[in-house]
Symmetry: C2
Subunit: 205 residues, 2 copies
């Protein structure tokens, strides 16, 4: 078994357990037990528990955020000067969404945690600070009747509702027999909801 094989096995297993039981509630020993490895293997390949956690996170977040900026930059060049709010919301949410539904359940679970667990979301958002700032600028262009503070807060509301969508927490209060929207419909709901929210207070034309 070469070095990247065991490294990936650790990453995959950690990801699965993080998704299932939470990050803080998952011990290194639980990970190696399920991966059929030794506890020391984690420290050999990653250095510490914290470093492992970070690598589990960024393996998923990096491609998503790259796609976000790619879409934003493409729109900024073609559709100048102002990009419609709806398109901005799409550029921000769709990379998460498409990645989300292409991946097995454990990846979905992890991504839900990334966007809901407070002690995880905080550093995650800080790490992608520049991307958030670029989107803030674009949103401000698209909604000039808002102050920068309002834009920031509304973006955080959008992120909050996205977290809820990812975590599938909705069934928690409608029981098991409650009908569920199909992924594409659910996503359209999120887009509509947040576009309307971000547009609130817009001057009538």
């Amino acid at each position: 078994m070469n070095t990247s094989d065991t490294k990936n096995k650790i990453l995959d297993t950690a990801e699965r357990l993080f998704a299932r039981q939470g990050i803080g509630a998952t011990s290194l020993r639980a990970i190696v037990r399920e991966a059929g490895l030794n506890v020391a293997a984690i420290h050999y390949h990653f250095g510490s528990r914290e470093a492992l956690v970070l690598e589990v996170f960024n393996r998923r977040l990096k491609p998503i955020n790259q796609q976000r900026v790619a879409r934003l930059e493409e729109m900024e060049q073609t559709r100048s000067p102002a990009i419609p709010l709806n398109d901005l919301v799409r550029a921000f949410l769709e990379p998460v969404f498409s990645y989300f539904y292409d991946q097995p359940p454990q990846v979905r679970g992890l991504m839900a945690r990334l966007h809901t667990e407070p002690d995880v979301t905080r550093p995650v958002l800080q790490q992608y600070h520049e991307i958030l700032q670029r989107f803030q600028g674009a949103f401000l262009n698209a909604a000039p009747w808002l102050t920068p503070e309002q834009v920031r807060y509304r973006m955080s509301f959008m992120i909050g509702s996205m977290g809820i969508m990812l975590s599938g927490r909705h069934p928690a209060f409608c029981g098991k027999n409650g009908a569920r929207l199909k992924p594409e419909q659910l996503f359209e709901e999120v887009i509509q909801y947040n576009t309307a929210g971000l547009s609130a207070g817009a001057p009538k034309k």
Copy 2:
């Protein structure tokens, strides 16, 4: 020191630590250390760690949810038959908000956790299942162009954005020098945002 004094001391200290470090990351020993008590005191007064956690939660959630139903019932009697969406959003969010800003920081921190930590939010939402269902009915009345599923999902988006607001996670991506809205303004933002989101797709009149 009579029995309710120590019980409250445990509740208060637990609440403060839960808010600061998270529920799962707070040990019973950390609680009693700060409260100047013995570990066994917790088991004597509460029975188990889980029972303590539950009592910490419900001490705050009960009055809030009582106020929610009170406001809903009052509106259902006076303003029949259909209650405007904006008033429903207010009836749902305002009890949390007013309670939130009347309390010291540790209570705010706890309430943020209650509405963001996945493994906490799930049982919390299940426990207040009936209240959520009543609001769902009212929302469906106020927005008859939506399906029950849409209403449920949009309510969950609203809860998600509320959680973000409570957790004050917004500064995480605007740095420390970013301007912050005053509590009342912030609350009006949340109301506006979610009213617009819930109204999305409404037939023009």
